[in-house]
Symmetry: C2
Subunit: 580 residues, 2 copies
Amino acid sequence: MEIDLSKIKTPADIKNFNFDQLNLLSEELRAVLIRKLAAHGGHVGPNLGVVEATVALHYVFDAPKDKIVFDVSHQSYVHKMLTGRIEAFLNPADYDKVTGFTCPGESEYDLFEVGHTSTSISLATGLAKARDLQGGKENVVAFIGDASLGGGMALEGLNYAPELNSNFIVILNDNQMSIAENHGELYTHLKELRDSNGTAPNNIFKALGYEYIYVKEGNDIRSLIKAFEEAKGQDRAVLIHINTMKGEGLPCAESDKETFHFHGPFDPKNGASLVVDPAESYDDIFVKTMRESMRKDPKVVLVNAGTPGAIGFTPAERAEAGKQFVDVGIAEQDAVTMTAGLAKGGVHPVMGVVSTFFQRAYDQMSHDVAINNLPASFVVFYGSVFGMNDVTHLGFFDIAMLSNIPNITMLAPASAEEYKAMLELAANNTVGPLVVRTPGGKVEHQSEPVNTNFDEYEMVEPGEEVAIIAEGPFLPFARKAAALAREEGLNPMVVNPRILSKVDEKFLDSLKDFRMVVTVEDGIIDGGFGQKVSTYMNRYGVKTINLGIKKEFVDRYDVKEFLKANSLTPEQIAEVVVKG
Amino acid sequence: MEIDLSKIKTPADIKNFNFDQLNLLSEELRAVLIRKLAAHGGHVGPNLGVVEATVALHYVFDAPKDKIVFDVSHQSYVHKMLTGRIEAFLNPADYDKVTGFTCPGESEYDLFEVGHTSTSISLATGLAKARDLQGGKENVVAFIGDASLGGGMALEGLNYAPELNSNFIVILNDNQMSIAENHGELYTHLKELRDSNGTAPNNIFKALGYEYIYVKEGNDIRSLIKAFEEAKGQDRAVLIHINTMKGEGLPCAESDKETFHFHGPFDPKNGASLVVDPAESYDDIFVKTMRESMRKDPKVVLVNAGTPGAIGFTPAERAEAGKQFVDVGIAEQDAVTMTAGLAKGGVHPVMGVVSTFFQRAYDQMSHDVAINNLPASFVVFYGSVFGMNDVTHLGFFDIAMLSNIPNITMLAPASAEEYKAMLELAANNTVGPLVVRTPGGKVEHQSEPVNTNFDEYEMVEPGEEVAIIAEGPFLPFARKAAALAREEGLNPMVVNPRILSKVDEKFLDSLKDFRMVVTVEDGIIDGGFGQKVSTYMNRYGVKTINLGIKKEFVDRYDVKEFLKANSLTPEQIAEVVVKG
């Protein structure tokens, strides 16, 4: 017996399957998935863990009429396979025809673009309320992982949903892992529930008014279907707690869940990575500098919110840091405000955080850190056009987001040496709220000593008439542009601003007789550092051209084309210098 | 027997009191508090409810060595009275010598500037972790209300804190109210706990690893002291659930808890307000327009996060709106993302939200609403220099925060008629993510019909050489400035931009031969709409001066002085036009 996967166009095509066929289907889907993941990379563990659950979902519920919202949606690959997109998994030439997340542009079965955690329950309450206002009867399902449930927004939604007093189904996919290990007492509680086959006292979901259903075998189709059918059509809030195995069916992913949460191409036989790491990286500099700082000063404490790997810390390095390493789980708000508390408490906190996830904590940066003007440090990762390129993970908004909050000093190094010096300042913070951007792109070096008065712009190349002020990874672009302009007979000055949250007035005053200033930044133009320069230079009537990224959402861009579309290549910068 | 309150300089002064004295002290503090609240206004209910709890706190714990963090800190008046600031409550001339929130600048007993909800537990985890790293032994206490506990960040902290595995005390002040009524099933659960004297099954706090102590008589000193002493010094997480009466001891505040959450001066005998409402207000226009929209279209649904009064809706008006009015409790993240879900679900959601609290939902606006480009509408209140002036409640950051997120259309009306037209668009949203700012200051009117193509700037007064582009409440300022400039022989054009999230390129192109453009906005200059105009006009080499508020935190400013300090009076704008 065999199932021709290429014939599965919609979930209707599996509705008449018997359990044997559903099991076989799951096996085949898993095999195809492993083949694609190994060749292409992607979210390995999350998808392998929910093959059966996704099959059961589409067997029981009637999407797209019934509404299924996937939290983070990095576990939606099998869902895509069952909803008309199997070719993008069967056929290597089509691998890139689907995104790694739900995408309404691809299919009516995908309701939202999602890439951040903990949003599914709130989104689903909106769908459920809209249904109730319109007299609909469809099921609304939020499919959420245990790690995502610890995010405050998910808990807000969990609290509110039963008040709708109508059909609302939460499927809690408990694979006992965050990207790394879970943190917080919720996870001790989930373990109690698993260990007691769902019967432990003080059931938090019952306390919040849910009918609670436990599925011990979350990779068993029959158990899943039974539970989903029990919940289907109910006029109340039901939570189905399914116990699944992250990475199920792929030994390397089962045994090293953290490494195989997301992975580039690998050898499926042994899990060996097929990706060659660069010889040096800014991450390595971060880890090395922070380890040194922690060893030297027991008051240095590194905080993060569920992404220790993204800030470069392996399990061994975390263990070495011991009490000086704090992971609060996927709870950026808590992490930032805890960092404020740590600073107030007299120690030296440094939070490492991914640019796009930092967005979760805007108010915490403003209200808790900045208003209180505390010496709390934050190091941003993937805050760059050279970072992640999924539309939900773009890293070029954080300058606009953070540099316009009073009291925050935002620094952007342009070399390994500058980065290290800024990290040392972060670990012994004497300036108040401090944000250091980790540069994107390849590691640059400087031979001159680092001027550690980071309030001062640094003239990198002298010149006249035109000044190019270019931050971070665009400094080398500006130097190339200057070289090109020199071929045209101009001699522009090249400046590394280093500080993005305010202008160096003294330095800008020295440019008051220049013909033009060109700013270049690794972020959107709107609300960026270049506009601060413009506002300042306008008093002198000096024309100031702001180069940077256009304010728009883009998905999975090719960085070279994207730079060109935004007039950010050295040649284009040179053209502005010459003709602008 | 009588206690001389003016002699209480530190908590040490009450440590030797017996229960009778502590009761008498509470009585006297409450009387003084009522006298000040009635004459001066302030947070009435929250403070009257915690007189005994605050006395007990300072009797049992040894602040400032022991660390007490007040959530929101609008209930910290009695704390201030017991920590060296009694004169600011006894002496009417000194009433304004303290702020309405904890304030480290006033006293070492105040740890943080706080004005937003749900931060106390995270702040306290930071203090506790800092203590543990340094080998300290002091108690760390988070004092949080039931409404604040429903905020996601509080739940994140609640989840994480027991993992510290050391002294951590949460006092849950359960007065059964948010600003208005509570929402979410947590509150049904708290009621079960109260009704069962703390013994209900499925105890959410026990589930999260807390030792749980229930205090039935939360306004009884003896019960409180017993519970606090039980928790003091423990090396684990303890949650003390105290059942208090909001507004205790003031009949009008006990019987109308919503009205007396915060109140201006009133007659303490009957609760009659001594504040004269303005004849017309933008709030009234909002309520009237939204009620009309809801009556006309059953798909219009008004969403808010725990501040129905701040968006003008009385209990009667909420009841009238019925299912079309959603309050999720103090959970801005959930509210914004539910609004995204509602829009996707095919109804017409409008969320009303206070500018400063909107900050909690930056990522939700970006990731859930804007990336998905959904027709979800948001109306901002108190987003103005003419709004609230506590440092934690400033309303002039939302332009920089929101207008730099792609896909968001941000509109600023300058008259009642324009506001109404924008609200009608919000209730029948055809443009995608939409933010409408409710103007600050007095209501303005326009006699010309409203151009509902809000992408277009409106020329309000023709002129030449210099254009003043002034948004919202600064449009009349610009008109006055233009009149003054005309006395100097200039004839500036006056423009109402209406849209803040992008420039009207065609209109700006028509100014390319102007000598100067001056922008004026009701927000900080950095990241504001004026800088977008600058960036655009630079291509023409037209000098563009950005007027607006300096990027800094200020506390309790006098609006006239503040405008002057920011060069925003009509005379100062005129001066820029003439000399700039």
